[in-house]
Symmetry: C2
Subunit: 254 residues, 2 copies
């Protein structure tokens, strides 16, 4: 299975610490070496990095560990190929534009015999079930709303659409348009809400700890979503399978 990492914050925050532990899972502490990718929203813009080298050895992953890019919404993915060859066009996350905003999507799982009718303006470039699911979500969102709706309206529509994909297999995903981070697990995802009072956290996959109190203000809110908990000393919460979660400004929406 692939590994997912998402971050949603109320203030631009660097993902260096979490990505550092996460990237170890791409070829060192776990066996997911069929490429990786990460996308950072900065305002309306997106930085998108993909590489078909493993995240533990990629020069681009090394850059991201060292270069503290600050973002309010981040989605990262380490790939273990189930469908589609190991090539750049099959690396997650995928990016599309809808209503004048970029949308970023990454998926962990396997959708069996999933061939949705893609009659709209979103077509997959690669061969994965994941990109097909993303194109179908974009197509159906485009049909459901004339222009960019509120986060609450988008959550409503996604709650109708997601089960239609999830019935085809394992559908753990992260989706963001730079305003919110939506996430759903059929099997494994965990989240943590980091907020005042901030404490020390220690990575599970690397001998590294950080005292968030040294790097934060009292008002900072950071939500992190990941396949398996990244740290040994934080309160990670397992997702309820089949529930759509929407994170906005570092909070979990009701």
């Amino acid at each position: 299975m692939c590994q997912l990492l998402g971050m949603n914050c109320n203030t631009p925050t660097d993902v260096t610490f979490s990505f550092s532990g996460f990237a170890q899972r791409g070829g060192i502490t776990d066996h997911h070496s069929d490429g990786w990718g990460i996308a950072f929203f900065e305002g309306q813009g997106v930085r998108h990095f993909v590489d078909h080298q493993s995240a533990s050895t990629s020069p681009i992953a090394d850059l991201i560990r060292r270069y503290p890019i600050k973002s309010q919404n981040v989605i990262a993915h380490i790939r273990k190929a189930t469908q589609g060859e190991v090539s750049l066009e099959n690396c997650h996350p995928f990016v599309r534009e809808l209503w004048g905003r970029y949308w970023v999507f990454a998926h962990n799982g396997n959708l069996v015999d999933y061939a949705p009718r893609l009659h709209g303006s979103f077509k997959p470039v690669g061969q994965t079930d994941s990109e097909r699911a993303f194109c179908w979500l974009m197509q159906e969102l485009a049909k459901s709303h004339a222009s960019v709706p509120s986060v609450a309206e988008l959550s409503c529509t996604l709650r109708e659409l997601v089960p239609q994909i999830a019935q085809h297999g394992t559908f753990n995903f992260l989706l963001s348009n730079g305003q919110a981070l939506w996430s759903h697990a059929s099997t494994h995802l965990h989240y943590v809400l980091r907020r005042h009072p901030f404490n020390r956290a220690t990575l599970s996959d690397e001998d590294l700890s950080v005292n968030f109190a040294d790097h934060t203000r009292e008002s900072d809110r950071v939500a992190v979503v990941v396949t398996q908990p990244l740290t040994t000393d934080e309160n990670w919460v397992a997702f309820e399978p089949g529930r759509l979660y929407a994170f906005e400004d570092g909070n979990l929406n009701a």
Copy 2:
């Protein structure tokens, strides 16, 4: 004015040498420090790097100078803001998907009072005239062909569309879908066709030369398009203003 760099080859080739000289123009030998970007096609996939730091100091530009990413189609851009603020969403090149292929576009120039009717499924994320022009091109291509046409058919359609934009101002651009590189100049663009017998080339902007004969096979073909010639010892050809050029497999199509 901004600076453009494009490369089209018949075999995956690294752009390290040309980019090295080009990146110097982002803040050192010229005054274009309002961000930069580069996109590399690898098969159907795209690596897309943008940064609103100047290309001469950006850590990501430094990575690209050192990491020889091999590609058959590359588009790079150094920005001097004329319209739209200095922000990530306004950095070229821009990327969209059409017919299951990625399209990459970068523009140098200024389109005055350019507000095309964007009624299709391509909407600008940022505020530049350039992204509006790209969205209009994608919209009109989508209307003109039901699925991805041949390079020759695309060139025909682009020859009808491009003058409709160019009448609004300076429209020097690079466009690629990973199969070919299309380019048009209202004012300044130059190209060189590198082929056997390969010789030594020396950058104009940096004390660096390379003997291409040491790094090439006899069958290699490389076309490079750039705002101003990058080297002092190659046969750069100035574009005829108003003509659309299509480069495929390192050759200039008739």
